[in-house]
Symmetry: C2
Subunit: 352 residues, 2 copies
């Protein structure tokens, strides 16, 4: 197959980990006989510096002519005091909205060789294997009115039936392919938007009788992610709750440095990015952990290109490298010698 | 001193743990020479059954003529399918709003003898000693418009300057009396209401130069509560974020069963309740853990009655009983014999 990939390195360690992901994809291409064509564009702080726009038109055009987007990371102290419209995060919000990437998929799975890095007890997290499906283009992030004066501030949490239906369906489909359990998270005892959300989940479950469904209040879910995270399979929730819960869940297994994410819509187009941020403190030193970027590329192979075997091969290679005790600085305990970004990537390449 | 206490036992284990708290307060009264006068009222499911109203006028009148309110718990499966207006939680929301109890104080402190019950590693939680200050009468819970049809649902996150100022001041005052550190949690990179929130925190810090202030995004705070909870002293945040983060924080030390809470305003009136819910599954068996209710009574002594020594005496008694290895069923490991609610309460009474 021939696929065009838009690569948006962004800020901080973004460029370094994108380089690693591209290197791995090139190897996958050779081994499985695909051609990946990479084109580069700017986003976030990088784009603000070059074009005074966190999501320039050139970048949008580049993504429009691609089959999928790989993104490094955006943000950093340099742009923290910029006005709203010139903040790196605006680039991220704008690209999600422009391409209608309404479903953010955030898998969290325990990696046996990394459990010692978890803040939780090993027996609590050993069996964790969940995916959070976060609605990404609605709710408080985009509802109007949204403004503030010196006297008051307002944001609007609004969802239409269509917005809820499509994300809930996506989650049901995923649950069916996994362990068959869906936890819908809302605050239906207080919020009106949550009442509609819960109603629609209850309607849709009739179409997925093979999926077990439970409703959980967001406060209760925030507890269970810590006390019994292994009980979850697929969690589906609205944008703001999903932001909080997926970040909460990202730290329980000690493997934040290797969590990938996908932001997709109903066709196969999608944007793939590591969960970790731009990590300005380690940027440019060649020591960033490229695992999350490489695993994001694997998600792209799976979800956007339908290349299941290729995705699995990358994931297996990454796991093997960890099991062999090879770690970058963030994960290495003092005993082991930490590998550089390039050294670690080459181990994965060797496995492939 | 003479103080009138309104006792609202509510549902599930509410009545059992209130009985324990009242017993302890009576002992405190005898030992420190105070008279506490207890009057009982209904709220939640109990009030729905008796008066078809989760917060009857009689209960409001009772609370109005009292110096403070002690509440057990509300809710249970019996009322789960009631219409909105006849849900137990409505009683809770209504009493907070009626009495303008805008500040919810939720302390979380590690108890050495209970750390083995924590899902987190002991070294991560050993030093935890934080208090979450949640805004309780504004934001998404009360903003208008708030409604849903079959096609869309909307809630409104609105805060006025006055609402933000008073909760932020309360948090600064608390931080000054504790370790002098305040973490303000918002989503200022996305929400307009958060931008005003952050601005006001930055204004107020000038009045509290002795307090160290940091801003944290809510997603990042949800991670740090797990990865480095001991770094927090006072956290202040808006209603919905506070709901999620305070419940998240409540499970990290393994001592959910003994966490108290206070909902207060600018004068000394306040409502005190255990964080645990009505626990319908253990209700009526005489095995409920009364520690959280007793510690809520201690908070009442401190915040509403200004009885610092009395509050400290209760807290010390509770701690001693735990250190002596006395636990109710929820906390006892198999080796120990679990005490009933009454037996455990009597241990605390003996200590006093
Ligand atoms: C940067 C920010 C706007 C963004 C969000 O809240 O969506 C980020 O936290 C994320 O989760 O991708
Ligand atoms: C019962 C519910 C309305 C309430 C809330 O969300 O405020 C509860 O979760 C709490 O935190 O006291």
């Amino acid at each position: 197959m021939e696929k065009r990939v838009a690569v948006l390195p962004g800020d901080g360690i973004g460029p370094e980990v994108m380089e690693a992901a591209v290197k791995v994809l090139e190897v996958v291409g050779r081994r499985f006989n695909h051609t990946f064509e990479f084109s580069y564009g700017s986003i976030g702080g990088d784009a603000i510096d070059r074009h005074r726009n966190p999501l320039p038109d050139e970048t949008i055009a580049l993504c429009e002519s691609s089959d999928a987007v790989l993104l490094g990371a955006v943000g950093g102290p340099k742009w923290d005091n910029n006005p709203s419209e010139l903040r790196p995060e605006k680039g991220l919000l704008a690209i999600r909205k422009h391409f209608d990437l309404f479903a953010n998929l955030r898998p969290v799975k325990a990696v046996p060789s990394l459990l010692q890095a978890s803040p939780l007890k090993e027996e609590v997290v050993r069996e964790v294997d969940m995916i959070i499906v976060r609605e990404l283009t609605g709710g408080l992030y985009f509802g109007e009115p949204s403004n503030h004066t010196n006297q008051s501030g307002v944001d609007t949490l609004i969802y239409t039936r269509e917005e809820i239906e499509r994300i809930v369906e996506k989650a049901f489909e995923l649950a069916r392919l996994r362990k068959g359990k869906l936890t819908s998270v809302d605050k239906a005892n207080v919020l009106e938007s949550s009442k509609l959300w819960r109603k629609i989940v209850d309607e849709k479950r009739k179409m997925f009788p093979d999926v077990e469904v439970e409703h959980q209040l967001v406060d209760s879910a925030a507890m269970k992610i810590i006390t019994n995270p292994a009980a979850f399979d697929v969690i589906v929730t609205e944008n703001m709750f999903g932001d909080i819960l997926s970040d909460e869940a990202s730290v329980i297994t000690g493997s934040l440095g290797l969590l990938p994410s996908a932001s997709v819509r109903s066709d196969r187009f999608g944007l793939y990015e590591p969960v970790h941020g731009s990590a300005p403190d380690v940027a440019g030193k060649g020591i960033a952990n490229p695992a999350a970027a490489i695993l994001s590329a694997a998600m792209m192979l799976r979800y956007s290109f339908g290349m299941e075997d290729e995705a699995a091969a990358v994931e297996k290679a990454v796991n093997t490298v960890f099991e062999d005790g090879c770690f970058t600085k963030d994960l290495a305990s003092n005993q082991e010698r930490a590998l550089t970004t390039t050294e670690w990537t080459d181990k994965v390449v060797d496995e492939l």
